[in-house]
Symmetry: D2
């Protein structure tokens, strides 16, 4: 299963007055690397928004927090396509510190919706092929 990885740095505006990463901002890191994944597979977010006859809202998101994170800390974020269903797909994310410890996890579930009817539809063929190719890459 293919994994996309990148380095990130915790920014001051990601933290709060308790001195650590504000929990909801971990989802920013997750969505950033999801946007990178979309670009990698040739279906960048800007195309999905501008030209698509479908859209792909997130219907469920969850996150775990294993260690507090401070400003300036370097992390490695990674994402995999954990499930590719008929009309939805699930991404799973990990955050590791420079010691290689898992410090956070997240998951997002995305559903393909027809832009005019606002109903759930099967993942359109071209988009599915791109997700599938990434998922099954060695």
């Amino acid at each position: 299963m293919s994994v996309l990885r990148k380095k990130i740095i915790v920014r001051l505006h990601d933290t709060d007055a308790a001195g650590l990463l504000f929990f909801a901002h971990q989802f920013f890191y997750a969505h950033d690397i999801y946007e990178d994944l979309l670009r990698t597979i040739g279906a960048p977010m800007e195309d999905l928004i501008a030209h698509g006859d479908f859209f792909v809202p997130i219907v469920h998101a969850e996150s775990q927090y294993l260690l507090g994170l401070i400003v300036g800390q370097e992390l490695e974020a990674s994402v995999v396509i954990a499930n590719l269903g008929n009309s939805s797909y699930t991404l799973e994310y990990e955050l590791k510190n420079t010691a290689g410890e898992l410090v956070g996890k997240a998951k997002t579930v995305h559903v393909t919706i027809d832009r005019s009817t606002r109903k759930k539809i099967p993942i359109p063929q071209d988009f599915r092929a791109r997700l599938s190719k990434f998922q099954s890459a060695p």
Copy 2:
């Protein structure tokens, strides 16, 4: 079980270029009303941060999205203390639109940690009493 409610309005900076609320920002709404709850029970966030010998990080968060939300939309947010454990508590949130439909849900799990040892501790007695009193209020 006591419920805290308040009106909120979706702000432009809560939305994204897809035209709807950015999913992670729903957690801002949840945390805002959690801060209101802390104030209501006499344990405001600023006291927890400034004076506490413990802190209460979020270790798990999750959210569901039932309907897309647009800028300017009025919502009612509500929060309950769904579980009050030995060293953790769980809050559950709902967002309803003006028609009374459920448009979003969220949950956060908070663990009490000793500030010096960084170990899990039982919820300190005074704080527990305040949470408990809110939870069991008619």
Copy 3:
């Protein structure tokens, strides 16, 4: 000159690890009350975005910070239309603490742009009338 005011509370996600309001978030407070002003004059942001043949981007923003602000702090935000030009208008904002001290100021300059040509245009008549009426209200 008419002034719109509202109470706000500094939220945890508005602060950073230095313990105070993150400077850029003061602009969120400014824009929130600008959105309230648009609603008050009958030209809500959602209409500007959805139906308008023009849009009104911000071309300049500035902010001053007079006192550090902490989570939970109550503030009064206010906004006035400081200038109503031919194709632009300027809003000025103030933030005061509960002692009535000025703790922050901001200014935003908005320009009306034709949605198809992307060129500056005079503020459309109906929108100008609404801004003008607010500005000159006693």
Copy 4:
């Protein structure tokens, strides 16, 4: 005068329902590269926050917006120390698109404050030396 540069990508959570970068988020880009500058000169933000007997709040910020920016757009951000005063310094930022056009500018003014007295103080010698060395590097 030394310039620090880096590539950035406009993220979905930086945009709003008007389809473009939300103006206040441009300050996030500015502050991110300021944090990089602090790291480059050996005075990283986490040290300023954790160990300093002074802090350096922003007292003024301003920004100009020359072109609308969309999700996925690649930009080059740059920062210079435009002024190094007795108890304050000013940073100036530019954002350019891949065509090399200036699309945004920003400025932040920082003042050194004694942590106990909360009074303005001269920029401490070691910190000044680091800023000065960066500023005057060829």
